[in-house]
Symmetry: C2
Subunit: 153 residues, 2 copies
Amino acid sequence: MTSKESPPKLSAAVEEAWIAFLRAHRHNMAAVEAEFRAGGYPPLSWYDVLLELKRAQTGLRAVDLERRLLVAQYNVSRLLLRMERAGLIHRTADPADRRGRRLHLTDRGRQLQEEMWPIYAPVIQEQLGAALSDDEARQLTLLLNKLHQEKPC
Amino acid sequence: MTSKESPPKLSAAVEEAWIAFLRAHRHNMAAVEAEFRAGGYPPLSWYDVLLELKRAQTGLRAVDLERRLLVAQYNVSRLLLRMERAGLIHRTADPADRRGRRLHLTDRGRQLQEEMWPIYAPVIQEQLGAALSDDEARQLTLLLNKLHQEKPC
DNA sequence: TTGAAGTCAATGCAGTTGCATGTAAATCAT
DNA sequence: ATGATTTACATGCAACTGCATTGACTTCAA
């Protein structure tokens, strides 16, 4: 999938953007995870699942989460196991495809999502909203979304 | 450090930028790590250390890495342990501060960095360089760098 | 149909990260 | 100079991730 990797040949602008990107991400994630931990809440990965399940009324499958969250299959599998053990989700047999199971939020899961959002949102605001105008945020979205568009062959 | 987290109140633009940011990062990191693994090389975190040590001729301390790489102290500590075991770095007593040790690249460490860059650079180019013009890359850098500036109190 | 190929999910094992805490040395306040 | 605080680093333990493989089921082709 990757080209032949011989001459590095990166423009300084690209390299700097890459560095800025990595640093910004680490900084932001540290802030988010710290807030969740400080409040005694589980990590962001759990929240992501809770939110996806909440949004999709229809019972999602693990493979749907995998694609939406860009998380590896085995990590989804085990994350769901832990969340089921914690009473946040439950899984029901899928009549249409007996390989997989449908995922559902429990009341406790739904409640947790609702508790975590008021922790999460202010961090987003602090980290991103406070630093950028809405216009800049839109610019950022546009630039970032260019990064994973399908390229023409 | 965080405000009082009561009303979420995020603009749609900010929320979308946040999502785009997280997705772009997962996408990019998956590509980078996949390339390193495919070549039989260690993960990006190892490369980061190798590069920092190469750039800083003077023996860095673990705490310097912690700050430059935004990695937690205990992770730096254990990453260095693993890299030392792998023969990539060595640590010498610091005459000026006997709590810590100075870090140095071994020949093997330096060689590994030089081998990994030709894997890494093309991924950066693919993920970021191919999608953005230099001008856009500079815009992105500016926007991202706003995210972790010290804010005026 | 039916057997090959593909898809959905789980798991053993090793590597890595997070949390809490510990130890030693430096620094600071008095 | 000396006890309290801070700084640098390490580590036990639990949680999480990555890799490779497996099992179960579905789909596709002939």
